[in-house]
């Protein structure tokens, strides 16, 4: 990267932009109340006032501008008591606002906000007798005008500073369609940042190489840009996405959902890989920051060259790209009711879940089924009742169904606040006069099954020692679990070390893994249609649940579990996503792929990756890098769904616990996202350190 970009990157890491943020959020409550605004209009007013309160910031080094100068806190649009009244008896998803979806950026860019405004005006005429539609469309237009005014103020400020180029660009976009790659990046930057200003979060960037390539292609063909200049522009855009990466106020810093999805196939099924696919991988490798988080869509027939490029990025230790296998994902989505052309357009949400950009108001993670709790309760009660393995498995099935029912039941009362500005950016909200919060073409809920390896291992241990070789009496297991293995260390070691383990291509354990996901799929399928007209999509991600389900968390709906029969003490975290239980003896990456290749991914369509840590020593030689690319291809050939491959050095992680000041830039994959190791809570740092790491043989 050139010195200018290095300066920009350093400023982002130093949080210089954040220092420019004003302290106090704007106050819009009084006017909302005085004008008796509807909720939709309040949401629009929020975006309007936020845009108005922004102060243009232009540094001489920047070619793509927008620096947020408002605080992370989003102003309230309702007084506390009114809010309580409004939300009583309803379920809010996480923080409340529409989040973790993906706009139709291609459409928003190519039509420009003025084009979207025309659509809104036309719909106003068409839906003039529907008050709800009118209310929404009027608000949407207000937000469009506010964003255009903000762009204009930036243009004027640039003009005053003698930055004619920037001024010209911002006079053009986001109002109209970009004429250049530079304009497209600037437009996207502003359009996306305003979504955050409105309090929406996990703002995915979708199939970046698809909707951006036409602009870059035209520039290259007409000689307006060479590859070096394109590289610099893209690098600056990536750096700019990190300026406000602290905004997500959720579980852990860095989990901000700013993902892009690259590669894959187009709507007709042909390859969608283009030169921007590779360029984005290369730029990300040079920029080396946590955003944007990259997903690479591949298949068994993907070029080894692209996989090698992906591996070169993995080698940097950023925890991405994450690989999604089109051969598996697309059929799974169509089996779930997605139209084939839409399924081919999937992008990845904040972590793993598949979304159709612009067309989905899916809530991809309404909670997790605790497989360990489902299995543990079944084991304790089944053994006590003198049941055999089949009896225990029946109980597991019942427990899973019950958890699914509880999670989904709570979301039958889901309340999504209106999001007029976000709606402007979706595929047909303006066209149909309907706010995105009221639904889109796809309105499904995702439920993940977490702790699968631990639960499968617990069941396998019970089968092995209680029912097969009968070396452990049921009462002893029950007593040991109750005592958290105090006084039963011998038994604990036996369960932990001598029983069959998931991830070793051992059918004695893997059959329970397969069974757990079957039960989850059955429970989701059996649930039927939700009140939002969607289905439940079962997934295999774990998110923060690998800590929460083991240690508890205030307000979580999922059950907490104590000591478990795979020899795990109470409180010890579970494996991440699809990864073996922590601390078990592993055979290696091949057995892991073979184990996880046994799942029926057609029925587990919410995503959740096989999570594999490779020692950074594996990546030292170019020849080994190529072998990692072959391993990724083997993953796709095996019919696995998603792969999270990380390069780690455990010694560095340990040292960072002791000397955080020396490792400020150390990046790790936390669950479905990458963050700075030293910004994580200790329990997450420990979970990461305890993962299996496959060394270079």
């Amino acid at each position: 990267m050139n010195p200018r970009l290095e300066v920009l990157k350093q400023r982002v890491r130093d949080g210089e932009g954040r220092a420019l943020r004003r302290q106090e959020p704007v106050n819009i409550l009084a006017e909302c109340e005085a004008e008796h605004l509807s909720w939709s209009k309040r949401a629009a007013r929020l975006t309007v006032r936020q845009c108005e309160a922004e102060t243009p910031v232009l540094s001489p080094e920047e070619h793509i501008v927008f620096t947020r100068t408002l605080p992370a806190t989003i102003p309230a649009v309702y007084a506390a008591d009114e809010w309580d009244h409004l939300t009583r008896g309803r379920t809010l998803h996480e923080l409340g606002p529409v989040s973790n979806i993906c706009a139709d950026w291609g459409r928003a860019l190519s039509q420009g906000l003025l084009g979207r405004r025309e659509v809104a005006l036309a719909s106003l005429k068409r839906y003039g007798d529907e008050p709800q539609a009118v209310d929404f469309l009027e608000g949407a237009i207000e937000t469009i005008d506010a964003v255009l005014a903000l762009a204009q103020r930036y243009a004027e400020a640039a003009c005053r500073m003698g930055r004619e180029e920037i001024s010209e660009i911002l006079t053009r976009v986001p109002a109209r369609a970009p004429r250049t790659f530079h304009e497209a990046l600037q437009s996207l930057r502003l359009l996306q940042a305003v979504v955050w200003l409105g309090g929406n979060y996990h703002v995915g960037l979708g199939r970046f190489d698809q909707y951006m390539w036409p602009y870059l292609k035209a520039d290259l063909e007409q000689g307006r840009l060479d590859e070096g200049a394109a590289f610099d522009l893209l690098a600056e855009f990536f750096i700019s996405l990190n300026r406000d990466s602290d905004l997500y106020p959720g579980v852990q810093q860095g989990d901000n959902g700013q993902t892009i999805t690259l590669g894959g196939v187009d709507r007709k099924g042909g390859t969608a890989v283009n030169p921007l696919t590779s360029l984005a991988l290369q730029v990300s490798r040079e920029v080396c920051l946590i955003d944007p988080k990259i997903n690479l869509r591949i298949s068994a027939s993907t070029d080894l060259e692209l996989l090698t490029l992906g591996t070169e990025l993995t080698r940097k230790g950023l925890g991405f790209p994450q690989y999604c296998n089109d051969d598996v994902v697309i059929p799974a989505l169509t089996a779930c009711g997605y139209r084939l052309e839409d399924a081919r357009e999937y992008a990845v949400a904040a972590c793993w879940e598949f979304l159709i950009p612009g067309k989905a108001m899916d809530v991809v993670n309404i909670g997790a089924v605790s497989f360990p709790a489902a299995a543990d309760q079944a084991i304790r009660e089944g053994l006590l009742a003198g049941e055999n393995m089949a009896g225990i498995l029946n109980r597991v099935r019942g427990n899973i169904a019950e958890q699914v029912h509880d999670l989904a039941g709570a979301y039958e009362k889901l309340l999504l606040p209106p999001a007029p500005y976000y709606s402007v950016l979706m595929t047909d909200c303006l066209e149909e006069g309907r706010d995105i919060s009221r639904g889109a073409r796809y309105n499904n809920f995702g439920i993940h099954g977490a702790g699968s390896a631990n639960a499968a291992d617990a069941l396998a241990a019970v089968e092995e020692f209680v029912f097969r070789d009968r070396s452990v009496p049921p009462a002893e297991i029950i007593a040991a679990l109750g005592a958290d293995y105090e006084g039963y260390e011998g038994l604990r070691v036996k369960l932990a070390e001598k029983a069959p383990k998931t991830g070793n291509d051992d059918d004695r354990a893997d059959r329970f893994l397969v069974g757990l996901f079957q039960m989850l799929a059955e429970a989701c399928e059996g649930y039927g249609t939700t009140s939002r007209g969607g289905i439940l999509r079962p997934g295999s991600g774990s998110a923060m649940y690998y800590v929460w389900l083991a240690q508890g968390h205030p307000g979580m709906r999922e059950p907490l579990v104590g000591a478990t029969a795979e020899g795990r003490h109470r409180g010890q975290p579970f494996g991440a996503n699809l990864a073996p239980s922590q601390g078990v003896q592993m055979r290696g990456p091949f057995s892991l792929l073979l184990s996880y290749g046994k799942l029926d991914y057609r029925r587990v369509c919410n995503g959740g990756p096989i999570t594999m840590e490779l020692s950074d020593s594996v990546f030292r030689e170019p020849e080994s890098v190529r072998k990692v690319a072959l391993l990724i291809r083997a993953f796709a050939q095996q019919g696995c769904q998603q792969l999270q491959l990380n390069s780690v050095n455990v010694e560095t992680l340990r040292d960072a616990r002791i000397h955080p000041e020396l490792h400020k830039n150390l990046i790790v994959r936390v669950w479905g996202w990458s963050g700075y190791f030293c910004e994580l809570a200790p329990e997450y740092q420990d979970q990461i350190i305890a993962r299996h790491v496959f060394a270079a043989g």
């Binding site: 291509d505 055979r587 290696g588 990456p589 091949f590 057995s591 792929l593 073979l594 594996v618 030689e621 020849e623 080994s624 072998k627 072959l630 391993l631 291809r633 083997a634 050939q637 095996q638 496959f694 270079a696 043989g697």
Partner: protein, 251 residues
């Protein structure tokens, strides 16, 4: 049916041959190389490794069916990805009968033999009939030095080298570079002369010194006492091989 003693089955070994592969490490070796980095591979008997993390048994008996069965499960991964199985050690020639029985039970897949070359010629031929590629170590060309640093003469190794070369199985000569011991111009020139023009020779790999060579000795209840200075950089003399007209690379 013979059983074999195996001290490790490692998946995705990136240094033991082309593509993605699994390496079977056979326990027991006639040599005692001063720089050996797998000391637990030397004894033919199962043993216990102890470390602060606890103890574990190293070396398990496998039947040919058992081992071949496990490798066959992975063949779906190897075949489309340039890979296969490597038999290493220890010294696989010490358990040639067992290795041959395993190979005979393998589904079609490329098999690589990684050997010191020290062993019975009949055992070597038994395996040459069954493998697709050989990694053949040449360490020291001077017999006295070889005896000193490995505990054995290099005569059988040099004579088996001819057997490999005449077998029609392609082979790679691998030279571990040990500072002041094997990396001398004299030794490398001697090795270059020994391999010059050998039919079947694909290339010569010079292996950089493994600074972690001594890592496992304590856990194996052994002592690592190299007579050479580990901290010295190795000399990488590729010139002598190029001069002999052979392909050479630093692996």
């Amino acid at each position: 049916m013979t059983t074999g003693c195996v001290f490790d089955i490692r998946e995705f070994t990136v240094h033991d041959g082309p593509g993605i592969r699994t390496t079977v490490f056979l326990k027991g070796c006639p040599l005692r190389c001063a720089w050996c980095h797998n000391p637990e591979g030397q004894s033919t008997e199962p043993q216990v490794m102890s470390s602060p993390a606890g103890t574990r048994q190293v070396g398990f008996e496998y039947s040919p069916d058992e081992l071949a069965g496990r490798l066959n499960r992975q063949s779906v991964l190897f075949l489309p990805n340039e890979g296969g199985v490597t038999f290493s050690g220890g010294e696989p020639l010490m358990q040639a009968g067992f290795v041959a029985e395993v190979i005979d039970r393998l589904e079609p897949m490329p098999v690589l033999l990684d050997t010191s070359g020290y062993g019975d010629e009949r055992d070597l031929r038994l395996l040459l009939d069954r493998v697709d590629l050989v990694y053949y170590d040449l360490k020291l060309i001077d017999e006295g030095s070889h005896l000193h640093y490995t505990g054995r003469s290099n005569r059988p190794i040099l004579s088996n080298l001819q057997v490999v070369s005449r077998s029609g199985v392609p082979f790679v000569v691998r030279v571990p570079l040990v500072p002041g011991v094997t990396d001398t111009d004299e030794n490398l020139a001697g090795i270059a002369q020994a391999v010059k023009g050998l039919p079947g020779l694909v290339q010569v790999d010079l292996l950089p010194y493994n600074l972690a060579a001594g890592a496992k000795y304590r856990a194996a209840g052994m002592e690592f006492r190299p007579e050479y200075d580990e901290s010295q950089p190795v000399r990488v003399n590729t010139h002598v091989f190029l001069e002999a007209g052979e392909k050479v690379r630093l692996a």
